[in-house]
Symmetry: C2
Subunit: 299 residues, 2 copies
């Protein structure tokens, strides 16, 4: 099966490095500089003390995207998605597309991909892009995928073929799958980013844990969640199992990069508006993060 | 007129240094080490490039407090107040007491001071205690005072006698005076402390300004404020005129000290509870600051 992977950030590089064991992979990069580097040196995959050089991945700038791949995995950040979707929509062919963005803000945009089989997924790996062609696999996890629109056949063939060291699990209900991840992200990311603490601090510090409960309550109201106690407990469990991790939003702010705050909190704030539910805490955290992004760029 | 000043932090040292020009001042310190140092070296008052050594202030540990002073000015932080009030209540004599704490949480405790003339005040000076006997006067401002309970005679005599370079203004309505300061403190202190920015950033960064509005709205609802727009405008003006200042709460957290969060946000949260008004944002900021205090002590 021929795979295209759009986006060569940490998740794109990680997927390409692992999936190249079992698929013919083309990786589409934003810049020609990066595709040249990968074609020349391969992808370097670091895991603990292990180093693997992956030379079977072909890289091309995204401007040369070839829609004939059987499955195209889109790994760009949500805020980079509009231009990718525009280009996909220019192609008249039907295709199989898997979107691995955080949050749920991208779902509306995916509805424009009529006549195509669209899958969505959540990635539970920890990965860090160290340079143009090097990715560090910090935390081994799974990738969950589910049908968003269309037919599951290609998704199921893909799942059957993935290598054992990069498990991909099929999920029945894409909404439930994404909402679970969204809740975890919407609590852990902004709080750790603003408090500048590791995930574990949110449950180890009794005061921070109180703020976790308050934020969760606002999210639960907006999403009309059932089983609130179980879901709060899931968030707490994730804080515990990833206690030593720094969240992506914290790392993004520290590095002066844009965060995924629009994908994560922006979606919830839109929902709150539609449902006319108060969201002072989410809104404030949203403004804190947007303000910090602006401060970061100004420095 | 004989003055006692209880508490030799930045405000206590500042009051002692200026008021000693016109009054016989005894300064009561928490430790004998500090009173010894002040008796030996005087108070050193720094203002810009000027240095003034003030040698007329007598210092004593608070355990030797003498209630015969005509006016006693209490400058300790709100969280140190209970032990001071206990000692005052042990004295059967009537007295004149002026309390200069931030917030409004101390008012309930002041109601226990029956039969005494009690005044309250707000200090608008910027001051920094540099060591046991040195205080830097960063920002010249005024002290406002008003009757909380009893008779104004001693307060008015005091106001008539203060030196011109340390103005003290009488205010008619203690509640209005304190609430104005509380609103400003409750917005500026926690936001600047959590965002780690100077006061001016709250209005210069359009995202932070949005969070100022959200927080103000919650406070206005709890305090049943009239003239909301004018009062929000006052907060914004204070951010502008003190743009280059780091708030006391930010400085306290940076130095790993306790903050005045209980005096400022704790009071508002109690009011919210009494009135059964939602306060998710104030509560979260309260927990953020309490959590940071705990992190600071743990380091």
């Amino acid at each position: 099966m021929k795979l295209g992977i759009i986006g060569a950030g940490s998740i794109g590089l990680l997927c390409a490095a692992y999936l190249a064991q079992c698929f013919e992979v083309t990786l589409y990069t934003r810049t020609k500089e990066q595709s040249d580097k990968i074609n020349q040196s391969g992808i370097l995959l670091l895991k603990g003390a292990e180093q693997t050089s992956v030379n079977m991945v072909k890289a091309k700038p995204f401007s040369q995207w070839d829609p004939s791949d059987e499955l195209t995995i889109v790994t760009v950040k949500q805020y980079q998605l509009p231009s990718v979707i525009e280009k996909i929509n220019e192609q008249s062919i039907s295709g199989n597309l898997l979107f691995l963005q955080n949050g749920m803000g991208h779902l509306r945009a995916l509805e424009s991909l009529r006549g195509k089989n669209v899958f969505v997924g959540t990635v539970e790996h920890g990965a860090l892009k160290e340079n143009l062609h090097t990715v560090r696999h910090n935390g081994a996890g799974v990738t969950n995928i589910a049908v968003f629109n269309g037919d599951a056949a290609v998704m199921n063939s893909f799942i059957d073929m993935v290598p054992g060291d990069f498990p991909v699990l099929p999920q029945k209900d894409y909404y439930e799958m994404l909402i679970k991840k969204l809740i975890v992200n919407a609590v852990i990311n902004p709080l750790t980013a603003i408090l500048r603490v590791k995930n574990g601090a949110l449950v180890e510090n009794a005061f921070y844990l109180q703020s976790v409960s308050l934020l969760f309550a606002e999210i639960a109201s907006i999403l009309n969640l059932d089983r609130e106690e179980d879901r709060l407990e899931q968030v707490i469990q994730v804080c515990k199992t990833t206690a030593d991790n720094r969240s992506s939003m914290l790392k993004d702010l520290e590095a002066g990069r844009l965060t995924e705050v629009d994908a994560i909190l922006g979606y919830l704030l839109e929902e709150a508006k539609i449902q006319q539910k108060p969201s002072p805490l989410l809104a404030s955290l949203y403004y804190f993060i947007k303000g910090k992004e602006q401060d970061g760029r100004a420095q």
